[in-house]
Symmetry: C2
Subunit: 159 residues, 2 copies
Amino acid sequence: MNEQKPGRENEIFPPSGFCQVGIVVKSIDETIKYYEKVFGFGPFEIREVDYPNATYYGEPAGYRGKRAFFYLGPIQVELIELKDGKTIHEGFLKEKGEGIHHIAFQVKNLEEGKRKAKKAGLKVIQGFARPDGGGFAYLDSDKIGGVVFELIQRSPEKG
Amino acid sequence: MNEQKPGRENEIFPPSGFCQVGIVVKSIDETIKYYEKVFGFGPFEIREVDYPNATYYGEPAGYRGKRAFFYLGPIQVELIELKDGKTIHEGFLKEKGEGIHHIAFQVKNLEEGKRKAKKAGLKVIQGFARPDGGGFAYLDSDKIGGVVFELIQRSPEKG
C-alpha cells in the first residue's frame, strides 16, 4: 500500500459520487421477474453491451454481456449477466456465486481517476474507455474489505 | 414463490427507502485504516453490538459483533465484524469471503414488513426487535439474484 495520504484534491473519487451498486446474476430475465413481482422494483432498462477494446488486468480482453438498470432512490442498480469474453464478473460468479459485486463512483475525468488510483497503489482490473472519454475502470480495492470499487465517467450522449 | 403481485400498498418495503449497504469484513480496524487512507472515506462511527434475543432462521440465536458506519452520499455503509454467536454474516464470510453482504431498506413498521414478506413467500433468516419496535430482519431474497435484503426500523432514540 502506498504511504501517501491523499487530500481532497488527490482523492481517487469523491465519496459523495457513489452512484451505482452492481449485482452479478445468472439470469437477468429471472431476476427482473422476481424483483418486479415480489419487491415492486423497476422500471428496468435492458441493454446488450459490447466492449471490444476492454482490458482485463491490463491486457486486451473484449467482452459482451447483458445489463439491466433500475433505481433504488438516487442509486442506480446494475444487473450484470455474462455473455462472452473473460471478465472479473465471470470470476466472481464462479468463485462466490450471484450477488453484489461492486460499488461505483461517478467521476468527471476517468483518466485522472485512474492516474490517482495508480499513484495510490491500485490496479485497474477491468476497464473500457470510449473515444469521448466516457468509460469505466474497476479497481483491485477488494484486497482489504472485499469490495471492488469502480470509476465511471458518463459519456455526454449517454447521460 | 407466491403468485400474488403486490400493489404499492402491499409492498414489503418502499424501493426508495434504500438506506444502507452492508459489508462483511475480517477486520473493521484494518478496513477503516485502508478506506480512510486510500479513499478518504469517513468519519466512522464504531459500535459494539449485542443482540441477545436475535433469531437465526426462526430459532433463538443471540450474537455480538463490532460495527462501523459511514456515509457515501445519502447511503449508510455498515462494516460488519464477527464476535460471537451464529450469524448469516459468519456463513457469508466462510462461503464467499469478505464483501458486500446486503442492501437494506428503512421501514416504518418492521412487524408489518415481516408480515408482508412472509405473505410473499420470504423467510426471515436473521432478525432482532427491540421493545420500542426498532430492529431489523434479513430476508432470504438471495435465492434469485443473490442479494439479501434487510428491513430496518430505526428506534426513536437511535434516529
